[in-house]
Amino acid sequence: MGIGAYLALASVLFGIGAVGFLTRRNMLIQLMSIELMLNSANVLLLAFNRAYPGNHDGQVFAFFVIAVAAAEAAVGLAIVIAYYRVRKTIETDRATLLRY
């Protein structure tokens, strides 16, 4: 079981997240798809760091990715709540306030 299995798995997980982001129109599920993509990037960082274990740079990067994902989820969900309060929907197809 080499590093290639980890790379292939991370690609598949990123693909699933990208498909979810592109095909779903529910803001909550789109945010969850973003989390899937961030997680797959973490798998890549940790796998390469394990393959070249001279220092901890990959793990430090993954640590910062986790922190940024937490901040992103907090702000994104706050935007979802604020938007729902205005329009009573969380479908992106009906998010047309900036369209005209």
């Binding site: 690609s11 095909t23 901890h56």
Partner: protein, 167 residues
């Protein structure tokens, strides 16, 4: 990699893919959040096979303990309006986008899957609290402080955005 590590990798990989598919395909956002929880917990198990013990614990604490709970709270606040079907109109363009994206990433997966690097034996403190903590505080102290400011700004911004305009 030893036999036990390979077994753990295969099991966690299967559960991670299942959780991701549930997240993307679920009709109810609460089920999607549960799929995300399965995905995150299995990835934390996979981090153990990569000698990333501290990050496995952080994955459980931050993702499963904070982010998924935040999602569940927002689903609870929004209520039944949060439920929209997995297929929501404009079927042709949407399925084309999904199929093309999946095709691209399957090609990438099959091409990078052959890459191989021999697993080198790691030091005893690789990925432990001591090893990773020393690496963060010696080499990445300024980014670490900056990320704390980022989190503070995100907290204040989330409160400012989500607060009711009548207050």
């Amino acid at each position: 990699m030893t036999g036990a590590g390979a077994t753990l990798f295969v099991v966690t990989a299967i559960f991670a893919i299942i959780g991701a598919l549930i997240t993307v395909a679920a009709r109810r956002p609460l089920r999607a959040a549960m799929g995300l929880l399965v995905h995150i917990v299995s990835l934390a198990g996979m981090f153990l096979t990569l000698n990333a013990h501290l990050l496995a614990a952080l994955q459980l604490l931050v993702y499963a303990g904070a982010i998924v709970v935040l999602f569940v709270f927002v689903i609870m606040l929004i209520g039944p309006e949060a439920e929209t079907g997995p297929i929501e109109g404009r079927l042709v363009s949407r399925s084309t986008a999904g199929a093309l994206t999946l095709a691209v990433f399957l090609v990438v997966a099959t091409s990078v899957g052959g890459f191989d690097a021999a697993w080198i034996a790691v030091d005893a403190d690789f990925g432990t609290v001591e090893g990773l903590g020393l690496a963060i505080y010696r080499n990445a102290l300024v980014p670490f402080e900056l990320i704390s400011i980022t989190l503070l700004v995100a907290i204040i911004g989330a409160i400012a955005i989500a607060r009711s305009p009548t207050e």
